[in-house]
């Protein structure tokens, strides 16, 4: 029940943020926020959505997945394939428009493929790009592919009762395997070059100042829907069962519930949300490559949720927003150096140290994260 009660507050805060950003945006407002910072904010919302998904699976169901960025990245790759195909095709068409003899469709397709894959020494369309020319099918894949991976992986893992730390290591292995697979040049997704130029939306002539705010809105909408949906899922009887699994899996099983089925449901749902978050994130980032899927990214996601406070949906959002924005600030080179006389602290270098020690302090002294502290204040 608790989660559902937070929905109005959350939506109000989110709406205020969206309103504020829109008023300050270059496209519709005063221009107080640069285009690139609008993108950072939009991407932060996507990360919040991913953290929400992480909280669903970890905070509520007790599955510490250290591979959720695999789903996030897959979502990005799925939409990225369409963006890259459509945009490259437009460029190729434009180039060929001046040909004396108009090009055939096959020539355009070949030219597009050459443009995309010459960087890995290939010129044919790999099989996984089969539907990359269809926006609808690509969007369908954003949901289907992460969901399918989660379904297969989760089914295997849960049915053999792999739990706790073992499951965490296994999910980590999963994302490592996926990133190693994508790193190969001949697996069809351009190896370590990844997909690029994703910030350009084909068929849309509006400039980046508009695109950035539109994507910000879309991310906010996705986050709002994700929050409401997640709150609904965890607040009913389903939520009771799932939290029961987290606290005492055996008890739930002996009550006659198929624990594996519930876990699988939550895991797949969370993977799908992550995939959607990734599909919104990477067009704002502009580029995706296999590094994004490396295990460390998923660990960071878990850490955000821990810092924000797990088992509370808003905690995950707070953690993700706070840490990723602070990281952007300190590593963006804008934070002033601290001059200690004999030694100058440069934040770019020392931020990771501070962040790491911050994790330690939070786990030691605030096991329920920032939201936990917040709850204590409210209760007093």
């Amino acid at each position: 029940m608790r989660a559902m009660k937070t929905v109005p507050y959350f939506l109000a805060v989110l709406f205020a943020v969206v309103l504020g950003v829109t008023i300050l945006s270059q496209a519709y407002g005063t221009g107080g926020i640069s285009v690139s910072f609008t993108k950072v904010l939009g991407m932060t919302l996507c990360l919040c959505l991913a953290a929400l998904a992480m909280d669903l699976v970890w905070g509520y169901c007790g599955i510490l997945s250290l591979g959720h960025f695999a789903f996030f990245g897959l979502g990005g790759y799925m939409v990225g394939m369409w963006l890259m195909t459509a945009r490259t095709e437009a460029v190729v068409r434009a180039n060929m428009a001046n040909n004396v003899i108009p090009p055939t469709e096959a020539e355009i397709s070949q030219g597009t493929a050459l443009q995309i894959f010459s960087v890995v020494g290939a010129e044919d369309w790999p099989w996984m790009w089969a539907v990359s020319d269809s926006l609808f099918l690509s969007l369908l894949l954003v949901v289907l592919i992460p969901g399918l991976l989660a379904l297969v992986f989760g089914w295997l893992a849960f049915r053999s009762r792999v739990t706790g730390v073992y499951l965490s290591i296994l999910t980590q292995a999963m994302t490592l395997a996926l990133s190693l697979y994508l790193f190969q040049n001949d697996t069809g997704l351009r190896g370590n070059n990844g997909l690029s130029g994703l910030q350009n939306i084909p068929g849309v002539s509006a400039g980046q100042s508009y695109l950035s705010i539109w994507f910000f809105w879309a991310s906010a909408l996705a986050l709002a829907l994700g929050y409401v949906g997640s709150a609904w899922v965890v607040s009913g009887k389903f939520g009771n069962v799932v939290r029961g699994i987290r606290d005492d899996e055996q008890r739930v099983r002996f009550l006659g519930y198929s624990v594996e089925g519930y876990k699988l449901f939550v895991f797949v749902l969370s993977a799908v949300i992550c995939g959607i978050a990734g599909a919104l994130f990477y067009p704002q980032a502009g580029i995706i490559n296999p590094d994004e899927i490396a295990p460390i990214a998923s660990i960071y996601l878990a850490v955000w949720v821990a810092i924000g406070g797990r088992g509370r949906l808003y905690g995950a959002v707070i953690g993700a927003a706070l840490v990723s924005l602070l990281s952007t600030y300190f590593t963006g080179g804008r934070a002033p150096d601290v001059n200690l006389g004999i030694f100058t602290i440069q934040w770019i270098d020392w931020w990771p140290v501070l962040l790491g020690l911050g994790f330690v302090l939070i786990t030691l002294f605030a096991p329920n994260g920032i939201a936990g502290l917040f709850d204590k204040l409210v209760r007093k």
């Binding site: 053999s160 290591i169 001949d186 270098d349 990771p352 962040l355």
Partner: protein, 652 residues
Amino acid sequence: MMKRILLALAGVLLLCAVPSGLRAQTLQDILQEDPELVTDASRRTVGEVLERLVESELPNVPEFLSVWQDRELYFRESDGLFYYVEDPDADELTLIDIDTGEVAGTSGSREIDQLRPNRGVQTVIGSALVQFQLNADEPRVRRTALRAIDRDPEEEHLPLIRELLETEEDEDVRNAASALLTKLTIAFADSDEARVAAIDTLRGNISIEARAVLNPLLATRTEVAETMPEDANIARELEPGSDDLPLADAYEMLVAAELAPPLITDEERLDTLEANIVDGRVGGIPLAQLNTEAARERAYDALIASGAAEAGSTEAEIAEIVAGYAFYEEYRESSVAVTDAAESALASIEGSVALYNFLDLSLDALSLASIYFLAAIGLAITFGVMGVINMAHGEFIMLGAYTGFVVQSIVPNDTASIAIAIPLAFAVTFVAGVAMERLVIRWLYHRPLETLLATFGISIAIQQIVRQIFGTLSRPLSPPDWLAGSVEFNDVVSISSIRIAIFLLGVIFFVALWLILNKTRLGLEVRAVTQNPAMASAMGINPDRINMLTFGLGSGIAGVAGVAIGLFAQVVPDLGSNYIVQSFMTVVVGGVGNIFGTLAGAALIGFLQKGIEWMNPSNTLAAQTYMILFVILFIQFRPRGIIALRGRAAGD
């Protein structure tokens, strides 16, 4: 001796049937009998003078032949004598008497001719020379002669070597000669039976030479015909459009054999179309409509009809044309018996080579397993025995490697520095581990997943601090010289010394840890605390102290592993992250809670990875990918690892 020389010569000098009755005293005398045979030597005539030289039995004949063959013999027109020259590049040449070897005056380079026998003559001289060498008293010289033949084998060498083998007593020379005889027999023998018999002697011989002899026999050329020829020695049929013979290549062969018209590529066709635009139309078709294949074909056909373009096959048609012909690979060697024998001999060699390759691969896998074992064994203690997820384990490995680097930059001697670095790395990471346990981990024993996050925080902090101090560049850690080489067992199997050292280090670690855990008071207490902390402390064991020491031990071992890993890997600040996931997988696959499990896990993962690499050698990334996938599946079927603790104790 004389008889042998004469017999041997008979084969070579068949051409020159003119015996010489004259007996000369010196080389110069023999040459002066007919100097033109030397100055204007030809392949046909040179035999005569060679025979005279051989018959003379003069001891300096081989030296003379060698000089002549090397084009370093000189002839002075003015006195008609032959000379050697001390330094051919000098302005003033110092002449040397060919018989006495003494200086016989000087000469300007203009007054004297350098004799340059042509290639044919050189060969004949070489044969004669080889005979001398084959008959030399020292085995070393005979061996040299065999090597010379091996480099440049000729049919006429065959009887010479048979000859030699009849009397040769030196073991090495015999072996070399019989190997050479086999090679020459295969290459030059008249009958297929002899060649096949020689080929069969090479069965199972894994030396590179044996394969080098057999492989040329199986050289092929690709041919095309309307139907498959009956009489040719065909290696195999080729399917046009397959990987071995792409369609375009097949068609090109047809064009080259004038069996098909030249190919008009799509690009050429487009150029032709563009060149024939009339009033915005090509062949009567408006330009705008030329955006389909069919329209372009029609336009081009119209151009052909009007004579503006050449007829030819288009890319779309070549598959059909190619299908009407037979493509095949034909052996250059015409004898079927020989190619069959060579193929079967090669197959048997491949069999042996595969066996040795397997052995070699197993050694590789063993060393990879040792590396995984070293990287994971510390984790097996902290995670396996204590149940603590230490994400900073990889950073402890990295700290060990950097300790090695620091020691090496202070102590110049490699051996000494490694000897210092190993205990020091243990000490450094032991202290780091104990500090971490005291400050952080002991508060989180009942919350394993949060240990994971806290130690992850520590790991990124350590990594960044190291990056601050040492920079991101790779720091070299050089192994001592005695570890630089490798041990080779034969042409196929070899292993580098450093890998042997790592294997031994792994064995030492394993034994030492087993002893510590099973034979010492500390080990007993560790196991007691692991199994029942409450009972252990009731019996007077201080669990705090034990946890601290165990964690220190696990961390210290990671440090030593770091020194070992640093010897062959790049020492960079994120060295540890490359090992952490693999290390966890090793421990989990092996079975948590005992070091035998880690051993089994490391062996499984190491051998598996090498096995997959062997199937797909070009791609280690793919090998790692599949290895991880296998591990994920493996855990489904044995969730508790290879060596699982069973029963109620393992239940919860």
